[in-house]
């Protein structure tokens, strides 16, 4: 009896170890996460629409149906990434995600004085270099120092009603995601 109890205890401890191991390894081995889905759809620095309006199935789940969104993957090892689009919509927001799809930085159109979307994502080292001599094209940009290597930048645009669909579509179509 004591032997059985002992075996059950070991099995339980083993189950706990497996539980914790699986839990912590899952994010790094998942092939269904946002990064993997985007990688299937488009290459680095290529913005792709992720909402349901652009295709039959939304690329990324749990998006508000009143929003259009576009995402592009970047790698800061190649240099800072510059994301900008002309035009204006009632509300836009920008999120920067790390490789694992965790939101590390987000801001809305209220952050800017002009309401125009123009953002540069860079690492701490690149920030120092860029600040030394600010390139002309970054003069009006928001500089975001993000603790990521590879990552995803998502631009969301609010579509209050159908009359705004064309404007929001144009806004996201013109999103440029370039390395510099």
């Amino acid at each position: 009896m004591a032997r059985l109890f002992y075996a059950a205890l070991i099995a339980l401890v083993g189950a706990a170890i497996v539980h914790i191991t699986v839990l912590f390894l899952l994010p790094s081995f998942s092939d269904r996460d946002a990064w993997a889905r985007l990688a299937e759809a488009a290459d680095f620095y290529k913005p792709v629409r992720i909402d349901a309006a652009a295709g039959e199935v939304p690329l990324v789940r749990s998006l508000d149906p009143l929003f259009y969104a576009s995402a592009c993957r970047f790698d800061l090892a190649d240099g800072p990434v510059h994301v900008h689009t002309p035009g204006n919509v009632p509300y836009w927001s920008v999120s920067i995600y790390n490789r694992g799809g965790q939101n590390v930085y987000a801001f809305t159109d209220r952050t800017t004085d002009t309401g125009l979307l123009d953002v540069v994502v860079l690492t701490a080292a690149q920030m120092i270099e860029t600040r030394k001599q600010l390139p002309e094209e970054f003069r009006k940009s928001i500089l975001v120092e993000a603790p990521v290597g590879q990552g995803i930048v998502v631009v969301r645009s609010f579509v209050p009603d159908r009359s705004w669909q064309a404007t929001a579509t144009r806004f996201l179509r013109d999103v440029a995601c370039t390395r510099s």
Binding site: R61, S62, T108
Partner: protein, 194 residues
């Protein structure tokens, strides 16, 4: 000898299967660590951030979600009405009560797979606060159901389980001022078809 090998085999089996099954169960359960519950509404303010708990991180990796940042907004989900009954698509509901400060907010009904329920009518399947009719005291009453109704109507279709998704954008409640102190509208069952 054989008995020992069998015991070890059983222990390994139970450990692997039990460990795997418990993770699977935890990831499918809606209640999780870090959830904030207000009335019937549940939010995960930390989901999708590096501060999230390991369960939320694993769930996100499995589902491919890109969560809203704190500066962007906060999403509440309700699966039960004020009496604790599961929300159903064949029923009508009245959503009324105070809403916290936000630049704007949106509400829509989602099916069991978290996909939006299309109204199948010439009506938007989601409502937002800029287009709602308000009472003199600035509060909002929304009727949700398949049958047309005056005032603010969120059209439904089909049958089965559903949930309401209420998202506040550009709101101070998402930052650290304390999500638990806010008040959210109540979901009242107004009758079911069949």
């Amino acid at each position: 000898m054989f008995k020992t090998v069998l015991t070890i085999f059983m222990i390994v089996c139970i450990a692997v299967l039990g460990g795997g099954a418990s993770v699977w169960y935890m990831l499918n359960a809606n209640e999780s660590v870090g959830a904030v519950t207000i009335g019937g509404w549940t939010a995960f303010p930390e989901i999708g951030t590096p501060d999230a708990d390991p369960y939320a991180k694993a769930r996100m990796a499995r589902e491919g979600v890109l969560a809203l940042g704190r500066a962007e907004g906060l999403t509440f989900v309700a699966q039960r009405d004020s009496t604790g009954e599961q929300l159903r698509r064949e029923c009508s509901y009245t959503v009324e009560g105070p809403v916290p400060p936000a630049r704007f907010w949106t509400i829509y009904a989602a099916d069991a797979d978290d996909a939006i329920i299309e109204s199948n009518k010439l009506r938007p399947s989601a409502l937002h606060s800029y287009q709602l009719l308000r009472r003199p005291d600035n509060s909002v009453t929304i009727t949700v159901g398949a049958n047309p109704s005056p005032g603010n109507w969120l059209a439904l279709s089909g049958a089965g389980k559903m949930s309401f998704v209420l998202t506040f954008y550009d709101t101070p409640i998402a930052s650290s001022t304390g999500v638990a102190d806010i008040e959210l509208p109540e979901i009242i069952n107004a009758g079911c078809n069949g």
